[in-house]
Symmetry: C5
Subunit: 355 residues, 5 copies
């Protein structure tokens, strides 16, 4: 993962800083742009065929949300960016999917990058970069590909559910981020389930040789999720503390709420992390216990039969004068001795709790 990520970065090696180059792998994604424009009383929803169609919304007083899917269409993004006076580094960051969650404060807009997390078809955690630009009365959002967690947001705008239609762009940004953060909970829930399954498996001894590999994979997933979520806390905290007309005072309470959620998620991640490290310990202990058991079987078998075999060996010797060999009942006496030895041994191991 990190590997491919770095590889994508390398596409840019030696480029002029500020070059707008898409670093992801979905190079053939179709461009999709949608626009919402709403106020208390009405709303417009429109799929746009060209980025230029969105320009008209800039002039309205109503709140505008322009959502663009397909970061490979750098030209369209550049057009949009220039129309909204975005800094070249902002455009560069939008299409460079190796960003860390961050916030950059510019004079008349805020630029926020974060990570959408979801499980792909192979049940691996995938991260997708989402960038937001919050202006005076608009929010621009940029996603790598179709499919997102914003359907509830769209519904709310359409049906004027909740307070979204009464509020401004800063509240729109809030519910968009909130939708992403809410989804983090399901991600870590699945992680928690996996850890519990492992614990049960290790405890029941249903372990294969892959366990240590699997635990390593789990560690890496946790690290991936951590990396996507932890920096976001500071981002949200800075939005909350941001002093500008872009974020209204009454909206800050809501950002504080996202912050609380992120702290909850972070805490869970740290707990899971600690538990994964413990898993390895449990696994080591299980291995040691198994080896102990194997050793005990070997020791019991060897300790019982080696002395008996020695005794049998004694009377298999061919000396001419071995008095015992002549006595009629020696054989039976010997059996008796051996049975006694056998029982004695069993008794000894019983006392040592090996049986």
């Amino acid at each position: 993962m990190s590997k491919s990520r770095n590889k994508t970065h390398n596409k840019k090696l030696g480029q002029i800083p500020g070059s707008i180059i898409y670093t992801g792998k979905k190079a053939s994604h179709k461009l999709f742009i949608e626009a919402f424009d709403y106020n208390k009383d009405q709303y417009i929803e429109k799929e746009l065929l060209a980025v230029e169609e969105s320009f008209e919304f800039k002039l309205t007083n109503s709140t505008t949300w322009i959502n663009l899917n397909g970061l490979n269409h750098v030209n369209d993004i550049e057009k949009l960016g220039n129309h909204y006076n975005l800094h070249p580094l902002v455009l560069e960051d939008i299409v460079n999917i190796a960003q860390r969650p961050k916030i950059d404060e510019y004079e008349d807009y805020l630029f926020v990058v974060l990570k959408m997390l979801y499980y792909d078809e192979n049940n691996n955690i995938t991260t997708e970069q989402v960038s937001f630009v919050l202006g005076k009365n608009y929010v621009l959002s940029f996603q790598e590909s179709d499919g997102d967690v914003f359907d509830t947001v769209r519904d709310r705008i359409r049906q004027a559910k909740g307070r979204v239609r009464n509020m401004h762009a800063d509240y729109l940004l809030y519910i968009l981020i909130d939708a992403i953060v809410d989804y983090y909970f399901s991600i870590i829930e699945v992680l928690g389930d996996k850890i519990e399954d492992f614990e049960t498996a290790i405890f029941n001894g249903k372990i294969t040789d892959d366990v240590s590999k699997d635990i390593q994979d789990l560690k890496r997933e946790i690290l991936k999720v951590r990396r996507a979520i932890f920096p976001l806390r500071e981002v949200i905290s800075r939005i909350e503390k941001h002093e500008s007309p872009l974020i209204q005072k009454k909206t800050k309470t809501f950002y504080r709420d996202i912050f609380d959620h992120l702290i909850q998620v972070s805490e869970n991640i740290d707990i899971y992390r600690e538990m994964i490290w413990s898993l390895m310990d449990m696994y080591m202990t299980t291995i040691s216990n198994k080896m102990n058991e194997v050793m005990k079987v070997l020791t019991i078998m060897a300790s019982i039969f080696i002395p008996l075999t020695f005794i049998a060996g004694i009377y298999g010797m061919n000396f001419e004068y071995i008095p015992e060999l002549k006595y009629k009942y020696s054989y039976f006496i010997l059996w008796g001795v051996m049975v006694l030895l056998f029982i004695g041994m069993l008794f000894y191991f019983k006392r040592k709790k090996w049986l």
Copy 2:
């Protein structure tokens, strides 16, 4: 645990932020509301049949405590909240039991969430969320279900014990939180006992295969308790530093006292945590020691009897010319040699401290 917790969160996934939805499992709990209204000279105690009955107390100058059990009754909570002008996010947090201990400061009230810890019937640590709203002359408290640690508080109000009846709502909140924090001490005392029992068990070798599972469970309990208690320190510290008429200067000394108690509890938790990690080490050492002992038995038995068996094998060979076989005393000489070898071996192992 974390799992179910997250599942409860999921009930809310895709909901409008600010929706007041109970996320706990006690959905069929009966509503119970009680009200205390008191001043220096008199007090009223009343069980309320409907939330509306509590509204009258808002007008009095005396201190009012309204305690509501049953977070599933979201409508009643909403009514109460609206009457006291609580922010929708506060109501949402009251019924969402996945909160972390926190304090939110609003213009004319403080909102405090914390966790009550107790042992359930299976002797597992259970957390229950308790929310407080502290206003100018009232305290609202919200609990998930009946049964709490507030009986001493009720007694004190009734019998005018201590200084509660002479003080204001901020002091009432203090003794309520103090009752919860005091109970933490018994929780961690039991944890301490469990750890000591484990230590004794491991040291005495009375260990079963479940030990590593049990230690893992103990770790998780500690993490649970930590998560409930640690953030509370900051909450109390912020109450102590809070600059508003809600918290009087002379009451702050008392909050400082709670803070000291929390530091004590936290310190103990950290010590227990460190000791649990050591337990695993002790357990590993015990396993290794046991394996060592098993190996020694095997080695002693094999080292003694394998050479003897070889000697016996020699004279069991059927060569026609083995001179020793003819001598009359060879058999007895051989026994002598074997006994010497046996004693030599014992001596050798004795010197190596294996016996």
Copy 3:
């Protein structure tokens, strides 16, 4: 330890905050009160039969030290406290021996709690709580039982040694705390010796099965000492920075000196702590090394004699046609082969460095 500590706390569970209840175990201790009153020119030393006898000293301009042993006498402590206008929470903290070292700053006095450490008759580290109240021209000290480290202080007052008689109450508090902190050095010196003894023992293989238990005990002692000493650093640092006529500027240099000593002790504790954790590693390695040695002995014995026994077995077979059996020198040739095999094996193990 922690257990009993919590148990003592529990005595108070459900009590009104501010109740003055002794939580220690020395409930039948006799009350002992002594008073020193001195200035540059003269001093009075007096054992008091009742707490009321101390009241007269409050009026003098000279420096007064009242030392009370026996925290179980809560009534006397309350009387003294009321006479000196101490806050009820201060009195509660004096007799609740579960305090953490702390400083509470009140308007006209400082309240300092710390821990005296000493070895009891069983050579276990014991902590005893000592509380100080520093007023304008007096120091009150409260100890659980007789026997303390203040004899040098008493001598200095009596004999006007050092500068004590020329200085004020803040300097008296300094030499009292200094006496306690000086004693910490001997405590950690003994700890250091214990660790070194363990190291030597483990290194020399003189280890018993109790080692891991002993190391665990040592860890706990370190944690106990840490808990007593570490918070004191902040206490002293706050005295040094305290802005009030209670602490004179020229005395602060001396508190700075105590602070330096505490940093030294803390550093040693942290080093010891790290070394104890290493001890466990050393011990594990020792166990592994021992098992290795055991395994080598077994492997050498088995590898040498099992093949030889096989050869002997071959010629113990009863086939009618085994040509070798008829040759006159086969037996001796076989011995030769076996000796060669034996030497070869020894050589092989020598080369592998197992012998």
Copy 4:
């Protein structure tokens, strides 16, 4: 590595502070100096034969970049330094290659030291110290030897690509540092690949005895990279916050971008570091698993054949009266018994999941 580094330091032991002494190993490197002088409209590129040739550029108003390769030529560096009024300690630091990345702020210039990382011919990570002096309208750069990552920078100046020709010396310094930081990404990408290869190798059991040595080497490489990169974050952050005419406000956005990149690299390094530590655990587990397997084979073989051999031994005894020996079918019955025992054993081990 650290060793040689210290050795190079020792060359200076006992020297007067401020002595300008080259501490690297490339003592015979040829001096190479190049100069770029450009403004919006034109540029000059020139290889200089003597350091004095560069002095003329100081007078121009255009932006000058003087790049010197060959730190062993201390005299030339001193001449250059004196011409630009550099502090003696700056000159000392330029040629002492044991510097940590740092920034020193002088009155009319900034001195920045950082590390260029690349893979040498043996595929080991090598660090080379690069120093920059940023003045009002010039940048001086000092490298130990030829070969650098600045070719894109040169191209951009020549071809007026990007905005470099329109900007000032502070932007030139930015693209120089950016070129170095961009290269860090390829370094850590290779590290990531190595770690993944190790994981795969360990998981597939393709491990040699050198693995623990190799992991140790990997740890050291990570530490080396960390040491080169981590302090740079603070350096860049201080440039960004630097208040002087040397760094223009609009350039700071670009330094912020480098800072973001460094945070990304640092995060990856920390993740790799954690994964390397896990590798060791995985390796230990693999070893334990292997030993377990070895033990199982031994135990199965011994447990099956030792009892059988004992039975055969019994009937190899030479007692005169062993009734079984006379029965015609005993031999075949015995075979049957042995086969049954054998099958029973197999069944037993099957049930224990050892087969």
Copy 5:
């Protein structure tokens, strides 16, 4: 070490604070005092026979350095201290060699304590306390015994090398401290070499049973060096930030340089520390690998010969009717079977990669 250190402290237990008592072990050291007095144009160097001879230098305007070796001569130190108006606690700290590196700021002088590190004749790291008092135009230095790292400083004063003769006492203190810090580099270089030697030894399997003891010793050396060097960083940083005429602005750049060196040394120490901890892991792995190898040899030998011995045992039985015994070629057939079994086994172990 720590032990003896504490023991030395104990000499003081129960003493009046401020008592000037030497706590080191070199009680019979001869007193040695030397004085340098210099300005730009001339210098005086003089060995003093009595401390009083130094008093005259106090009156001069030139810079004076008085160096005293032999902390056991407390009376002379006291005389000197009183002449220079040093605080009694300063005198106490000078002769109490258990100090931590620290700086105490007094009204008209700075008191700096630090540790000189060197290897003693047994190649163990030894620390010696050096104290400096920096006054307006003088530096006093106090060492425990003869032999120091200040020869370069003396030479520079004598020969007017570098800028020392043009600068003031603050610069003199700088070059004295710089000489000590420079020497730290050789100390940690030797440490680095030791670690590398260990790594090579462990990797090559040239390990003795003392390895874990040696690693433990190495850990302790690192801790010792850390304790001497780490606090010094803060000391130097406080000198650099010190606002008083004692430290001139232009000298601060030089102290900043020492600070940079200390950061370098500290970083190396932390890296070495991490590597030592890894060493223990490597060692454990090596032990495990060795045990694995031992186990394999045992398993191969036993698995091959135990079944063969069983077969031989079969035909050593004395049953009257064993048909195979009569066939002429059974013996040779049996040999064939055994050889096949043997080869099969070898093949099996080869495939398992045990051979």
